[in-house]
Symmetry: C2
Subunit: 138 residues, 2 copies
Amino acid sequence: MSDLLERLRDRGWRLTAQRRVVAEVLDGDHVHYTADEVHARAADRLPEIARATVYNTLSELVALGEVLEVSTDGRAKRYDPNARHTHQHLVCSRCGTIRDVHPTGDPLAALPENERYGFAIAEATVTYRGVCPNCSGS
Amino acid sequence: MSDLLERLRDRGWRLTAQRRVVAEVLDGDHVHYTADEVHARAADRLPEIARATVYNTLSELVALGEVLEVSTDGRAKRYDPNARHTHQHLVCSRCGTIRDVHPTGDPLAALPENERYGFAIAEATVTYRGVCPNCSGS
DNA sequence: CACTACATTGGACTTTGTCTAAGTCAAGAA
DNA sequence: TTCTTGACTTAGACAAAGTCCAATGTAGTG
């Protein structure tokens, strides 16, 4: 993802300091941050960055298909920089951490025509929930 | 679900007018209401019912396994009275309405052992997203 | 019927996110 | 290089969804 900024500029994205730090935060560790976590980390480098800017930038990255939005349960949305390969998520029901996983097969194929109720189905997401090794010990 | 109240009383659930109307709202149509929709419908029959009571009651019904909580994207959680048969959900990405669907196969089986990272996986939920016939027309 | 533990109430509060008006600035033009 | 301009950013108000709490009410037991 090191050429993310380049790809975006090629697509006419105006490059600002704020957008750069947000992209760098996502690029750094391969973790799934919430918007506020992204904001906190971006503010380490650019203290005056506004929350609204982080939200705007994240939405744009999602719209551009560079980042995925993952919402688990009622908690804050998390942002997944690994939008290149399709994958699903494994969520710890205690601590909320997320791991990317790659199940076999296509869940879309498992939904028979007579169960589609006329919807134009665009995607199927699978969420596995369980207790991670870290949390099961305690 | 007509004997829901009876089942709950047998399990030591204290039966109040508020809890009764909440249960009746869920029992009525087989729709997936948000907490506020449940509150509005409950208030038709019991005008002084508090929002907090509806939230409390819904949480208890979920904890007791009588109702499922479905959270799609950043929207309000919806409550699914059909907790008896396992099923998945089809969500309209415009209006947010939900339909129960029954895909073939077991998504848990699609996750290889080496992708489980030591988690004790308890469940797999599949969410299909698309535009419903109602929204695609306009 | 009285008692008491549990349920309900209303309103303040929190979290997550959106909106807006005014100011700022990146990038192309001259 | 400097100018121009429309897109970007900011701070703070606002909104939606949900939680918390102290005071009050009540279901069910004995």
